[in-house]
Symmetry: C2
Subunit: 499 residues, 2 copies
């Protein structure tokens, strides 16, 4: 180790801490904008956010960061090498893209949002075509700057999941398609009908109380968090303060409840990061796949489990006596109902959800590769919908215009939703090995062992390991879809009396 390496490492981390503090400030401003800010505040807020992002971009791309990286690389090991690896990755991606292109993308994104909103409201894809075309071109250009020799879609995907190869995504999504399409067909053909104990009207303020009941039961640390509502549920924050939002529909109390539990899963990850590493990559969560594994684990493997409903249904009935004499089994079957007539991703059940993702993954890849034209998207979308789910949207508003992602230029984001669900099943298999009778504990309302396992094996590592290494560290195995396929086949085979 060069004599001045420790100093250089400290100097690098100190600069990174500053950048990280500004970015966390930006996150709080965004939370406030979505949850607290009066409408008139928009004009100043966008300028405050752009001051923050421009400043942290300048600090990250400063020559001094490059020099410090150069002087520590090869001279540090273990945790320090991991921190340096992560800063290097950010530095390289930030410096390779010209500032003008970053600005162009940022402007295009702001301009695209209202165009997409209007096109969706008018069910008019043609009105969105030039905007989407522009966005595809800008993101291709962006990818070429980062790595001209790499598949541009792989480069974009790596913005959201830097360490799982695109081959892995391909393999996993193919397996989901090959296994789930026939399973969904069998379910559609089954004559088992799920009960509907949650039909009717449910006061939203009482739903809010119910969400709080669920969070308290699951072990949310109210000393380091809060629950609010916003038009789209999300979670944001740090290991000191990780907040949840949800939203309430009067006709569907399960929607808010599962959204709350999903966001709780994200928040537990953030809250499990080491506090003494705050401001370093070692105190940051891994990327979207691992984050989504935590939200899905709590949403699906806990919140949609029979054991959870055995425990929680009495609380539900306390808040909403109207559900009457519904049994825990009724509730379990209702919250796991597979819908064969749903066009909307965010309303999809645990199985068909992945077909929504596969379809988007295939289309966005074809767009970035230039294999299809933007104008062909509606046709391709509807054909794939018919092929994978046996339904054909009648409008683009409930078809290819439904999601905000492409108007953000977020190509490569969708697959991480499925990759995370798949990982949640793999992690939960390890949990079941490590904690005897974990569902017995769920029935008792005891979640400490589960929190402890997840914190020790996933959260506490921060960005110490890459995604594949983290999976190996936590489960002893390579990342695999086996557990998810087994879990889904068994659970839904049982629910729908399939042979």
């Amino acid at each position: 180790m060069a004599p001045d390496t420790p100093d250089a490492y400290d100097a690098l981390l100190s600069k990174y801490r500053r950048i990280s503090g500004l970015q966390d400030a930006g996150q709080l401003l965004s939370w406030d904008q979505q949850v607290m800010m009066p409408p008139g505040g928009t004009g100043a807020r966008s300028r405050q956010l752009s001051a923050l992002s421009a400043t942290s971009h300048e600090l990250l791309t400063a020559d001094e960061i490059g020099d410090l990286l150069g002087s520590v690389e090869g001279n540090v090991s273990g945790e320090q090498a991991a921190a340096v690896r992560e800063i290097r990755r950010q530095y390289d991606r930030a410096t390779r893209v010209p500032t003008e292109l970053v600005e162009q993308i940022s402007i295009a994104t702001s301009e695209a949002l209202p165009v997409w909103e209007q096109a969706k409201a008018d069910d008019d894809f043609d009105a969105f075509t030039p905007t989407l075309q522009k966005m595809v071109e800008l993101k291709r250009e962006y990818a070429a700057h980062i790595d001209p020799d790499e598949d541009p879609y792989a480069v974009l995907f790596a913005d959201y999941e830097p360490y799982l190869e695109l081959d892995t995504a391909d393999r996993v999504l193919s397996r989901l398609r090959d296994n789930l399409v026939p399973l969904i067909e069998d379910i559609a053909a089954s004559d088992v009908a799920a009960p509907s104990p949650f039909a009717g009207t449910f006061d939203t303020s009482t739903q809010n109380d119910l969400s709080r009941d669920a969070l308290s039961l699951l072990g949310y640390d109210w000393n380091r968090g809060r629950l609010d509502s916003s038009s789209h549920p999300f979670s944001t924050g740090t290991q000191f303060d990780s907040r949840i939002t949800t939203r309430f529909k009067e006709t569907d109390p399960i929607d808010a409840l599962t959204a709350t539990i999903h966001e709780f899963g994200h928040a537990t990850y953030t809250l499990g990061l080491p506090q003494d590493k705050y401001g370093s990559p070692l105190g940051e969560s891994r990327d979207l796949t691992v984050h989504e594994s935590q939200s899905r684990l709590w949403e699906n493997h806990i919140g949609r489990s029979r054991a959870f409903w055995e425990r929680f249904l009495p609380s539900f009935k306390d808040r909403f006596p109207q559900v009457g004499d519904a049994s825990a089994d009724d509730a379990y079957r209702a919250v796991n109902r597979v819908y064969d007539d749903n066009y909307i991703r965010v309303e999809a059940d645990e199985l068909t959800y992945h077909m929504h993702i596969v379809l988007r993954y295939e289309i966005e890849q074809a767009l970035i590769h230039g294999d299809i034209e933007v104008s062909e998207v509606p046709q391709v979308w509807n054909d794939k919908m018919e092929k994978y789910l046996g339904i054909r949207p009648e409008t683009d508003a409930e078809g290819c215009l439904q999601d905000i992602h492409w108007s953000h230029g977020s190509f490569g984001y969708f697959p991480t939703y499925s990759l995370g669900s798949v990982l949640s099943a793999q992690l939960f298999a390890s949990v079941e090995d490590a904690i005897p009778d974990v569902y017995g504990k769920v029935r008792e309302g005891s979640f400490d062992d589960l929190h402890s396992w997840l914190t020790t094996n996933v959260h506490a590592h921060g960005k110490r390991y890459t995604t594949p290494d983290l999976v190996k560290e936590a489960t002893g195995e390579e990342y695999t879809a086996d557990y998810f396929i087994d879990y889904a086949t068994e659970k839904y085979g049982d629910l729908y009396d399939l042979d």
Copy 2:
């Protein structure tokens, strides 16, 4: 004008806008910390705030700012010259104080806060002595860096009120002392007893509704603001989003109501700043004297007026039928009651308040000049309290330990409270000249003309004028205490039947 001046001016303003965006982000983080943040968030929040303040300090003191200032000064006029004057002032003050001293003061402040809190809780001034001593020394050193040839207290005072000379403060505070001490004595000797229609217990959630009633009546723009509660009332924000907090005491509904109206006054100033100047000194409020003039104008000249209570008492009774058949005159007399037995500044009435300020002003000046020792503060405090208000605190907790300001190192802040009240009377005299029967409009619940006058004559100027020039611009006269003395003598002479 040098050929490149317009470019240099734009470049300077663009840099300033960035700094201002970061500072506004910091304000939002502080609001969140006091209003929304779960307690566990403190650890990260202080680091986010210090990242923001360190970064904006570095951006402000960059050589480039000095160079740009040098190339525009003398080559711009009017509004541009005013913006440059304000940036120059900030730049000079920021560059003259060594970074180490800034850090020392920042650390000393963080350390002082819990020491002061404990000393106050224990009524143990000795425990606070070394901390206060340290703070006095640091602030003397700070003043010497900024201007070694100037009275150090004048330098500190200029942090809060840069353009009114300390001589002006001296003159005004002396007049207040000379005129109000005998008036307060006459009131104490009077046998007029104020009615007490607001005695009893008042539900705090209903008090919250009542505060909202008052804000809506006065014309708060809910599209650009919100009301929350916090342990100390404050207002913060921009011309796009200016928020108010208040706090509720079950036994005193007038306390929350007047605090709300006071903070509303601050918020109207911010909301009246020009939106197209956001991010420039021309879009920023003038300093503490002018700010306090706006809060006091609304609190005292409106909220404590007979006309306001004629209008508002029915709303009060709707919320709290328990006040029974109290008349508007009863309410008016109750909210203007002068207390001859109150030791606490923040609970003081409109008259004795200024004696609390005079006392602090004299003591902090003596401390900074070295005319008294820190250990003498309790004795001097109690002697002055007896001299000015005829009462002697039995404990230091309700004497010299009551305020947080000195533990913050905020020497020179207190006088701006009185200077602002004095200005509010002067401005209101101009309002009465400009708007015929302004109190008739208050009785009708019509505040548009008042808002319009204040916005046009005060708010819309931003930092275009210095404080003395702004006063002249708005009132046509020099800043003077005449109006306040006349107002107070007449109002309280009438209330207490003085000759």
